[in-house]
Symmetry: C2
Subunit: 325 residues, 2 copies
């Protein structure tokens, strides 16, 4: 543990009371100026610390940053986030960072977090709005022993994990829209982007990225997405602890991933169906060069959408943009 972490631990241990500089100096065997340096770093990291010449230091408020050490504290997983959590205040895209790490051999369960993404990625090369400190932008590296053929199931798995997270921590009713959106009252609250590197019949690695709109106020959203997107703050009127949401997500994701490894896709598919109201809905599917319309029948065992078109034909929808009519 670094001296800075020891210092932080001492402040946390003195919960709600002042900790004298003398005590800290003696305990950690560091100088007054070293204490000052570490306090400054902690403040930079978002911890709110008061200081007084007479009384010493007082940890007024924990940081709101998604710092690896804070995430790990109380994280009830076996693998995810237990070894490597890579943290960025600001990066291009957590998926891009996670892919680089995975290509270099990062193990399953490696987590990449950013406070802000400058090139947050949505599906199909689109942009994911990722303002600093207001959302969760996180990617997890997986190395499942499945064929690339089965990768779409992992997107549905992650959708279910995100939905469970929202359900377990907020009073909101969520709805999964195939393939990768989590809606609340018809607006986008979260999205999943699954990317894979594979050969024909073996996956090298999978990166599952999520973007969750947590504490964005209305004015935070650019005008072009204000009618399409929402945040937990906007829907509940309350600021949420991002770190609790993130931990809970990692726990749900690992739980469902273990379930998938042991019991296959069926339990996840069944839960997905409970969390999506798409079956029975009229939709339009826009593909590159044509459009399908029809009624959603189901998702099939591979995780694809089964559509009944107006002529009564059943179609398997593998990709495309879905509009609920």
């Amino acid at each position: 543990m670094s001296t800075k972490d020891q210092l932080l631990m001492s402040l946390k241990a003195g919960k709600g009371s002042w900790v004298s500089g003398e005590f800290l100096g003696r305990n950690l065997t560091i100088s007054r100026s070293a204490i000052w340096k570490h306090i400054r770093t902690l403040k930079d990291e978002g911890y709110i610390i008061e200081s007084s010449r007479k009384k010493g230091y007082f940890l007024r408020q924990m940081t709101d940053s998604l710092l690896p050490n804070e995430i790990r504290e109380g994280l009830k997983t076996n693998v995810f986030g237990k070894r490597d959590i890579v943290y960025f205040r600001d990066t291009d895209s957590t998926n891009i960072r996670a892919e680089h790490l995975a290509a270099e051999g990062a193990p399953e369960g490696t987590v990449v977090i950013a406070e802000k993404q400058t090139q947050g990625k949505g599906r199909r090369g689109r942009y994911w709005f990722s303002p600093s400190g207001e959302g969760i932008y996180a990617s997890v590296v997986l190395r499942p022993r499945i064929s690339p053929h089965e990768a779409p199931k992992l997107t549905l798995m992650a959708s279910v994990a995100v939905a469970e997270t929202i359900l377990s921590l907020t009073p909101l009713r969520v709805n999964i829209k195939w393939p990768n959106d989590i809606l609340v009252n018809g607006k986008k609250l979260a999205g999943i982007l699954t990317e894979i590197s594979a050969e024909m019949d073996r996956i090298h690695y999978v990166v599952i990225g999520i973007g969750v709109n947590v504490n964005m106020p209305c004015e935070s959203f650019p005008s072009d997405i204000r009618n399409l997107a929402t945040s937990i703050l906007l829907e509940t009127g309350e600021v949420s602890q991002r770190i609790t949401l993130l931990r809970t997500y990692l726990e749900w994701l690992e739980m469902y991933y273990e379930m998938f490894s042991v019991g296959g896709f069926h339990p996840i598919m069944n839960r997905w169906k409970q969390l999506s109201d798409m079956p029975g809905k009229q939709i339009r599917v826009d593909l590159i060069d044509h459009t399908h319309e029809g009624v959603v029948q189901d998702i099939d065992e591979d995780g694809f959408l089964i559509l009944k078109d107006h002529e009564g034909n059943l179609r398997k929808i593998i990709s495309g943009d879905i509009t609920l009519c």
Copy 2:
């Protein structure tokens, strides 16, 4: 064009005759010592050039190296190899290099060549034997607008292109073994490794790598693969021009890729069936934790193998190691 390339062109233009140093110096407006420097580089690249104080320089023999400029000369493709050919005397794996280039935006048709691979990749993390100057180790970057679901079709496409190449330049009878081997007399002559980077319903890029055993003499193969592998030299008794094989492969590959883009997979599948004698054969499929045995019925429209097991059940084989019984 660089001065070195101009010098080479002058030597080629003087086909079968001496070109004087004076002529070269005047023509390219360079000094005697500059000529010497470039001649040395060309010799390093494998060109056999004689020199004489009196007569000048004589291009006795073209290089056997797969140099980009030489490949391009007479290459009858529209896109593949027309823009970027990246050449290595020695690299880890052409697929690894091509993936890096593709991740940084290399366009469709980018070709990576190596004389030698130190970590030549086979399927499922295996090793591909890649001694210097004796084989073709080449990777092509593709950016097809298909879903990852369809990627296995590209492996079969490349198998057909490799088979056509061998058929059109040698008297050998080839046989494609699903999913990615080209056999001659039951031994491995070439292999294909297709790797993809994708999201759920969109491919970012595909890298198709091939390894072809061209001019390996028997003693070149390590003892553990001597009974399993063969080369064009061993089968025909003749040394082949690797550059002609490579150009021909790029031409076939592009032809089939265009066919795939326009007409879909059916024509390729039909040709694949003509070039494979697997249907009707007894095989064993080894998976991670179990084994299937049976008779190959067909390949299906997605490029997967359909096996009829001893109980008469039809099974779709997506992956696994195939042994012909």
